[in-house]
Amino acid sequence: MREVTLDLKSHQSLTLANDALTSISYTVEGESNLTIIAPKRTTGSVFLTISGNGTLNLRVAIEDDAQWSMLIMNQSEQQLDINEAFSLHRNATLQLAIGELSLGSHQKNTIYHLLAEGADLNVRGASLIQSKLKASYSALHYKGQTSAQIDNYSIVLKGCEYTLDIIGNIHKAARGAKTHQISRVMNFDEKPKTSVNPKLIIDENDVEASHAASVGQPDLNQVYYLQSRGLSRSESLKLITLGYLLPIIEVIDNEAIKERLSQEITKKVSESCLM
């Protein structure tokens, strides 16, 4: 697969090259708009890192019969609001991984538009909340035979705040749509400020919909198991935390990027106070 590397900032519109891995380093400056288009019948991967401060309006369109995987890492250590809209057209598939691992205070509003039959979305989010994150993810199914699986794994450190609203909305006429969510939050604060609000809005029959949410402290049995193999309590907690975060890198089929990200995530977890 070809590799394309881009350094972008403020207002940009980009059409992705077919059969390529496109790495984009994007800097938000004030109010910024970034539009990414995956044309019809194309395939490939995108690795997008975001930095800067302000508001980012991100639009991603996966056109008919296009098959893409995308990893978005928010690396802004500052105040950043992100409004995202992903549009999946007929038979479009998107494997999306989202990493929120920075020190910044962020607000996110993400909408997945499943516009036509065969649109297939699979999302894995990993968040290491080190200050404050307020996030909302909505999957809107406009047509039948669309599918969305949205999984979020989050770690909330001591003294930090996390709000997650996650919505699956199957519209009238979207017969045969599937919308599923799994949200798991591990708190390192005994008095956590965490709120997870899953919601399913169903306006059609013959559909599949589910949500599973768990919010809790680190599992004592898991910690005990790892300790029984010689890992200290702090090493055990780090490993369990990495288990929440590292699987997002699997979406990118490039060993060099995977290795770099794995090291970055491991470093961030090592630097954070998990005890």
Partner: protein, 278 residues
């Protein structure tokens, strides 16, 4: 030469006394079979030795090579040379077996194990246990069958080379062929390395493959009888009732509520806490 010495051990869970004065001594090259009806304290004994936080030691001592084991944390006990192959191995999603095992090996070393040496060790263990080659890259016990989880416990034991290894119903979930493979590995370890074993099992067939040097019967939190391997055969043919009659100790009937071994309390993904016959 290592020695695990348990004296007059009393253990309670949530205020209920489970072990009522257990004394045992396990030395290098010995294989101790711990047998007894369900719910009479076998797993509690092994978990208490390993240091599970739910088990409260109310009386007695455990020393390992003369050192007070009870003052050590779970990981200190492991690094000192104890190993517990668990009845219900935990799943740790997102953590690969190889990362986990590397971390476990490195916890015992001054400098990290060279990657090549680690791969060689891991590949040999996988081959000896006839496991699937992809298991190094799979998440710890996640999506493993019952038999795969048990083999994974044995794989960890092989790599960590403990001085005293405890196996808690490691044979349950294994088919006949897998049982033989695991037994061969255990026998090989006992022959070639300086290890002592404590093995809990219900099935005499496991103790035909791994011949114990000592057999103990645990009923109502006490070791009521100790002998050699011949005791295994008598249990196989006659059960435990004769022991209860001879010793006058009532067998505790197993409770149907099992401890929850799942992940953090998922409302829809996991079984509810304390679910019956989970």
């Amino acid at each position: 030469m290592s020695q695990l010495k348990i004296e007059n051990l009393h253990v309670a869970i949530e205020g209920k006394e489970i072990l009522k004065g257990v004394s045992l001594e396990i030395n290098t090259n010995e294989i101790h079979a711990i047998m007894g009806p369900n719910g009479n304290g076998k797993s509690t004994l092994l978990s208490a030795i390993m240091g599970h936080p739910k088990y409260e030691i109310t009386e007695g001592t455990i020393t390992f090579n003369g050192e007070d084991l009870l003052s050590m944390s779970v990981d200190e006990r492991a690094r000192a040379g104890l190993f517990l192959g668990m009845q219900y191995p935990q799943e740790v999603s997102g953590v690969t077996n190889s990362d986990f095992l590397k971390a476990a090996l490195n916890s015992r070393r001054e400098t990290p194990i060279p990657l090549f040496s680690f791969i060689r060790l891991m590949e040999k263990a996988i081959k000896d246990l006839q496991m699937k080659s992809d298991m190094a890259h799979r998440y710890v016990n996640d999506g493993f069958s019952g038999g795969e989880k048990k083999r994974n416990e044995i794989l960890q034991m092989m790599l960590l080379q403990p001085k005293i290894a405890m196996l808690d119903e490691i044979d349950s979930g294994l088919d006949v062929d897998a049982l033989k493979i695991v037994a061969n590995v255990v026998n090989d370890m006992v022959t070639k390395s300086d290890v002592g074993m404590m093995i809990v099992s219900h099935y005499e067939r496991f103790f035909h493959l791994i011949i114990p040097t000592h057999t103990h019967i645990l009923i109502d939190g006490r070791i009521v009888m100790s002998s050699d391997a011949s005791l295994v055969n008598r249990i196989d043919t006659e059960g435990y009732d004769w022991i209860a009659k001879e010793t006058g100790i009532d067998i505790i009937k197993e409770e149907t509520v099992r401890p929850v071994v799942g992940s953090i309390g998922a409302c829809a993904a996991n079984e509810p806490r304390g679910s019956k016959n989970a």
